[in-house]
């Protein structure tokens, strides 16, 4: 068979675009990230939040904050371990979802538990260490969310931006402490242990990389 009849030589070869770079990948991730909220709204409407709906809402928004945080922290290790540099572009979206669910968590608490009374919220936050710790985590997340767009990165410069965003490790520690303290009364640490293990693994992976770089330098 002559070479020119071969289809591969006649049809121009279209470069294969990885699924991760598909233009719809980012919007899809946003939709996925909104699913937990959609489910909660549906359950409010259907009166399907159980016997104590207020508690369920406060807890689940907190759970989703932690889950989004774990996903965000997993991006870099997965990117390097799987050799998928394209994953990096999803980190910002996931990080903003951490902030989004943390804000929902705070709002649910302030509204449902504190009756939206600012004085009651402030007194409660100052009086209860476990709430204070959670609140600090949210405060610390705020500058990270505020500098998550490209212009901010340019203005800060990559080095300073990176340094600032390392605060997410402190946020992870505070969020875990918040959850641990909340469960301390019931001495029910099974779920806390799962999140702690995941976060320890993700941060431990970074620490190992840092030490290896230092040794080789």
């Amino acid at each position: 068979m002559p070479a020119w009849t071969s289809p591969s030589s006649t049809e121009p070869r279209r470069p294969r675009r990885p699924l991760l770079l598909h233009p719809l990948a980012q919007p899809l991730l946003v939709l996925l990230g909104l699913l937990p909220l959609a489910e909660l709204i549906w359950r409010i409407a259907a009166d399907a939040l159980g016997a104590n709906p207020a508690e369920a809402l406060i807890r689940q928004t907190g759970d989703w904050t932690l889950r989004m945080l774990c996903l965000t922290l997993a991006v870099t290790p997965l990117r390097e371990a799987l050799g998928l540099p394209a994953l990096a572009r999803f980190r910002r979206t996931l990080g903003l979802f951490v902030y989004f669910y943390a804000l929902l968590h705070l709002s649910a608490y302030a509204w449902l538990d504190m009756g939206l009374d600012p004085a009651a919220v402030v007194t409660d936050i100052l009086k209860r260490p476990f709430i204070l710790v959670g609140f600090l985590a949210l405060l610390l997340l705020t500058p990270l969310a505020a500098t998550s767009f490209n212009a901010a990165i340019r203005r800060l410069g990559a080095v300073r931006w990176k340094r600032l965003h390392r605060a997410v490790y402190a946020v992870a520690g505070l969020a875990l402490l918040h959850f641990f303290w909340m469960r301390a009364g019931k001495q029910d640490f099974a779920e806390v242990a799962v999140y702690a293990a995941v976060i320890a693994l993700l941060l431990g992976w970074r620490l190992r990389g840092m030490l290896a770089r230092r040794r080789s330098a």
Partner: protein, 267 residues
């Protein structure tokens, strides 16, 4: 068969919490720490045969089977408020009799100052015992005069039916002016003692859970306020929490038990 109680304070004027919520939102850690666990898992509890051993500082120690316990005193229906230490509450129509009826029968000696209640801890029936949340078995206790107060009740049923397993079948304590955890479920031993019993939650976290654990809006839990509560099933999602009442609204009946005591110290 039971009659409406004529005891002062025994019929809360509040609307009773729907049966479904009373029997699906439970703290019964022997069957798991999630509220929905007991209703899903307590079917493994075997309530017959059942014997309660009454021992310690009594002239007439005895072992009573369920039949004897059911006949010990006339059954009464009482509608009590139940305030959980976690900040929620219910109103439950219990069926049972005053603990005082049993106490008189066994004749406590002069040494008896406290009553200790031990609940069932059988790993074969209770999957939650695998967790080390508390030291099993679960133990609760009252001062003898608290146990003698007519409001203190041994319950065998609710909503006109036999006590569901997730609510502490076949018999449980109900002490309506104290946080719910003081009311032990599935009781197997009642011991009269001279010394204050070591109670489970107090042993686990003394700073958070005192021996007395009277409902008190002015004494906060270290991690949350006790000034308000959410009534399960009654308060809408966006409704403000309702104020918690001193001694859960039973001050007229039990206030004298604590005359002169510093309730912030003896929490």
């Amino acid at each position: 068969k039971s009659v409406r109680s004529s005891l002062a304070g025994a019929l809360a004027s509040d609307t009773a919490t729907p049966h479904k919520l009373v029997t699906t939102y439970n703290n019964y850690y022997e069957f798991g720490t999630e509220k929905a666990d007991p209703a899903r898992r307590a079917h493994t509890l075997k309530t017959e045969p059942w014997t309660v051993s009454i021992e310690g500082e009594v002239r007439k120690p005895m072992k009573l089977d369920l039949d004897a316990l059911l006949k010990l005193a006339p059954m009464e229906e009482r509608i009590y408020r139940m305030r959980c230490v976690e900040g929620w509450s219910m109103v439950i129509p219990w069926i049972g009799w005053s603990m005082a009826d049993l106490i008189r029968k066994v004749e406590p000696t002069g040494n008896a100052k406290f009553v200790e209640f031990t609940t069932l801890a059988d790993p074969a029936q209770m999957p939650g015992l695998r967790s080390r949340v508390l030291d099993w078995p679960y133990v609760e206790g009252l001062r003898l005069d608290e146990a003698m107060n007519p409001l203190t009740m041994m319950a065998f049923g609710l909503y006109g039916e036999v006590l569901p397993k997730q609510n502490g079948a076949p018999l449980r304590l109900v002490v309506p002016w104290k946080y719910g955890f003081k009311s032990g479920k599935s009781i197997v031993r009642i011991r009269f003692t001279e010394k204050q019993p070591a109670t489970s939650w107090n042993v686990a976290a003394a700073r958070e859970y005192g021996f007395y654990s009277n409902v008190n809006p002015k004494v906060d839990h270290p991690r949350w306020s006790q000034a308000t509560e959410r009534r399960i099933g009654d308060d809408g999602l966006l409704q403000r929490r309702r104020p918690t009442l001193m001694f859960n609204g039973y001050e007229a009946q039990v206030g004298q038990l604590y005359a002169g005591m510093d309730l912030a110290k003896f929490y």
